[in-house]
């Protein structure tokens, strides 16, 4: 594989997974809900997208995938608000249930082939035939979707509803005092975020011309790792830069992964690496403050006392 096409694949996968990272930006960063149904919703998007494309509706497949994942987000949110189930548990339960649903959607099989199916990717490829962009058609499609997604998110987060969603993650009590129903904002937020997860899954399935039931496994950790990498690179708290940093994080994560593969790391190590990155990113600040800050001094003082 040439270096250019390698970089292109990296960029493509990074951009596609960045849509899931953007979804987590909405649910995890803004709404402060760790949506563990992400894996299932990603696969759901891939399955629905594949099935609808197979039925001969390549454009519709994208919207269908987003809508289906949105419904799954609604159920997760419904469980944690109206039925008062712990938000992590709600995500896990939905994720488990989606496994069966995804197989049912694919028609009782865990594998679908899109080799000869008309998808948005083949359509754009035909369209760009003979132009300078012929080679990069897949990256262009992904980039267009990512830009649209960022614009949608930035604009949405500026509306009253978007602000209410952010406030729900920040201080639910204040939201209630502002006569806004925090259940409603959680439901809208998760429907909105899951639409992007579904889109992400749909695009991955169509770009790699096939979907299997494992396509989304570990996606939540990979996306979380990307999100945290992005946050480390761009620390500025701006409503435009935050989503951009999420995309940047996703691409960098893929880049690091590709380099590691070139250094003969086994492909199956991806998920372990993403887990380690998440642990480092989440625990890092705490460890640093423990070693250098007041907490560290306290521990040292206690040790000194114990020694004395």
């Amino acid at each position: 594989m040439s270096l250019v096409s390698l970089l292109q694949t990296t960029l493509l996968l990074g951009l596609i997974s960045s849509l899931t990272v953007l979804a987590l930006y909405v649910s995890y960063t803004c709404l402060n809900v760790c949506d563990l149904s992400t894996d299932g919703a990603f696969t759901l998007g891939a399955c629905v997208g594949a099935v609808v494309a197979l039925a001969g509706h390549p454009i519709l497949s994208i919207f269908a995938a987003m809508a289906a994942a949105s419904v799954s987000g609604f159920i997760t949110a419904f469980l944690q608000t109206k039925l008062n189930i712990n938000s992590l548990l709600a995500g896990i339960v939905v994720n488990t249930g989606l496994f069966s649903i995804n197989i049912a959607i694919m028609g009782n099989t865990s594998l679908l082939n899109l080799n000869k199916t008309k998808t948005i990717f083949t359509m754009v490829k035909d369209l760009l035939k003979g132009t300078a962009f012929e080679e990069a058609y897949a990256v262009i499609i992904a980039l267009v979707f990512v830009v649209i997604a960022i614009i949608c998110i930035v604009l949405f987060m500026k509306t009253r509803l978007g602000l209410a969603i952010r406030a729900t993650g920040d201080n639910p009590r204040m939201v209630q005092s502002s006569s806004i129903n925090p259940h409603m904002t959680t439901i809208v937020g998760l429907c909105f975020s899951n639409a992007f997860t579904g889109l992400s899954g749909c695009l991955l399935a169509q770009s790699q011309k096939g979907v299997n039931i494992d396509i989304g496994v570990g996606m939540v950790t990979v996306a979380l790792a990307s999100l945290l990498i992005g946050n480390t690179i761009i620390r500025k708290n701006s409503s435009i830069l935050k989503p951009v940093s999420a995309v940047l994080g996703a691409v960098i994560f893929r880049l690091v992964y590709t380099i590691a593969l070139r250094l003969h790391m086994q492909a199956y190590m991806l998920r372990l690496i993403s887990s380690v990155i998440v642990v480092i990113a989440l625990a890092g600040p705490y460890i640093v403050s423990t070693l250098t800050g007041s907490a560290g001094k306290k521990i040292k003082n206690r040790r000194r006392k114990e020694d004395a």
């Binding site: 009253r160 509803l161 602000l163 209410a164 952010r166 201080n171 009590r173 204040m174 006569s179 129903n181």
Partner: protein, 261 residues
């Protein structure tokens, strides 16, 4: 205006922790009243607010606001008519959002997909100037970076922005230093009198309870043990309140905090 009609509430009924908060508790507040509420810890002052705001629903009895029954109305709907300020300055605002964004949530009047308009921001600036805390110069600053007093003043502005029918103040100056507390209190008085709000204020300071408002309620053990209005309240003193409490209850409620606070 506000009518609490013989409510009863028992928490954790049937368990070892069973606790009766209210038994046949009634209270009526007239329009424009500014009621100060004192009482020892566990007297049921905050529980009273929680019942009014709908944090819990009473087992029995009814609550009416402005003639409408609100006993089963969820909190976020009551919030349209009830402003609520807590002791903790962090409770009333979203720390990671800017002053402008916080105010837009409390005072914005467009639909769900509306965006803050310049005109509205100018209105916010005017209102913030009234607080005299330099908040109008920091519209884009996250609220988390403000001092406790600034945050509480902002919370007060947010809670009263849409002129609620009823304002609940739960020791809203207790976590502030004396000078700031005084400032926030003066602001409170200004807003309550200016907008002619009906207001209930819990305080631990007898002096404050006597200096503010036109009616004073003393609570103990989920009951109102003293209720003074108008002239009777004006002529009441701290010593008088202390004596009253000893007579009614027998126990020493007067903690240092109540005398000094």
């Amino acid at each position: 205006m506000l009518k609490i009609d013989t409510i009863s509430k028992i928490f954790d009924k049937g368990s070892l922790n069973e606790k009766e908060i209210f038994k046949d508790f009634s209270l009526e507040v007239k329009e424009g009243d500014f009621v100060t509420i004192i009482g020892s810890n566990g007297a049921g002052k905050s529980s009273l607010f929680n019942a009014i705001f709908g944090t819990f629903i009473p087992d029995e009895g009814h609550i009416y606001l402005d003639g409408e029954e609100i006993t089963d109305v969820p909190s976020h709907k009551r919030a349209r008519n009830i402003g609520y300020l807590f002791q903790d300055p962090r409770s009333g605002t979203a720390p990671n959002m800017t002053i402008e964004e916080n105010l837009f949530l409390a005072g914005g009047d467009g639909g769900w997909l509306s965006v803050n308009q310049k005109k509205k921001t100018e209105e916010f600036v005017e209102k913030l100037k009234l607080l005299d805390m330099d908040l109008e110069k920091n519209l884009k600053k996250p609220v988390g970076l403000l001092s406790g007093g600034q945050r509480q003043a902002l919370s007060l502005l947010m809670a009263t922005y849409s002129k609620p029918k009823l304002l609940l103040l739960d020791e809203h100056t207790a976590a502030l230093d004396p000078k700031t507390a005084e400032k926030v209190l003066a602001l409170t008085d200004k807003i309550v009198n200016g907008d002619k709000l009906t207001c209930l204020m819990i305080t631990h300071s007898m002096e404050m309870a006597l200096n503010y408002g036109n009616r004073l309620i003393m609570m103990n053990d989920g009951k109102i043990i003293y209720d003074a209005e108008g002239e009777e309240k004006k002529n009441q003193t701290i010593d008088g309140l202390l004596k009253l409490f000893r007579d009614k209850d027998g126990a020493m409620m007067a903690s240092d905090r109540m005398l000094l606070g």
